[in-house]
Subunit: 204 residues, 2 copies
Amino acid sequence: MRILPHSIEKLSEELAKLPSIGPKLASRLTFYLLKSSDQDIENLSSTLKQLKKDLKVCKSCFIFSEEDLCPVCKDKKRDHSTICVVENPLDVVALENTSEYNGVYHILGGAISPIDGIGPDKLRIKELIFRIQNSKRKVKEIILATNPNLEGEATAMFLVKKLRPFKIKTTRIARGLPIGGDLEYADENTLARALEGRKEYQVT
Amino acid sequence: MRILPHSIEKLSEELAKLPSIGPKLASRLTFYLLKSSDQDIENLSSTLKQLKKDLKVCKSCFIFSEEDLCPVCKDKKRDHSTICVVENPLDVVALENTSEYNGVYHILGGAISPIDGIGPDKLRIKELIFRIQNSKRKVKEIILATNPNLEGEATAMFLVKKLRPFKIKTTRIARGLPIGGDLEYADENTLARALEGRKEYQVT
């Protein structure tokens, strides 16, 4: 028997379509919203509607942007000779949060994944090469920061080969034990990489 | 530096206000929605807007309803002499999903919780008593199905005392080990309750 009103069940169903939100959480969210003020619901609804309005993509790095160039690509203080290649826009956000990187980015839009039917042609690799060839300032380093998983590694390897003719220093972000991690619980691959990438202490 | 457009950050912020959704999941959801079709986003936005429209509360059991009486309270095949008292509407959904219960419900709207400033007067206890006194069919059993936690138990005990004058059979849902649970990992209280509520095998 359908007990709850249609409007409640419909919102639960819509929310359950989103990733990481199962039917139980969808119900909880719906009942939370039922208790929220009309204003809060109106806000969320209109924010959703506005999401894609006036949204562009940065001509240089392909992150979502309000203007033709994103704040990073527009910034003259950033090092435009270093390009960090990532899979997705959220990777840029994560890297920016470290405050450790002063170069610019290039968003591939995913990683090579034959299972999902994503070949190199579906990624912004041509655009990366075009950018290297037509950059005002000579590109000195390409940092490959695709994810440290099967697809990300394959994409990095593919890019290394593609970029070889340009004779630019190409690096890969370090893989090893995560900070705060526990050796005992690390998987073999991570541990193997951590050993392989070990660094010598500078004893003075 | 703010890297992402305002509309993206705003939706992430709005989503992060919801329960069980942290900033990371909020970002993931936002980027998932960015990839969704305009139609899907429009659907979600309008479903949200419609949520509280034409929404009533059942006059009898206080669940959200499209009409004055909810489908359960309207159903003549249900046993209206048995009232199952629960804290929230989702508890009704959970109980209905078992297909084991044929009586009707009464939603308190929470549990007694002095820490949160919720006293008995903030729950629909007066309404329950009014319902018992004015029911066309004599109420034969009240099942207390508040949560098996501190607040729920306190509420159940409060109700037992309140309902005593009416001399109606009052029961409490069983507490014990959950099906599929593991004795080794059960907490002491659950285990103590499971022992206390043990049942004898009917040896024939």
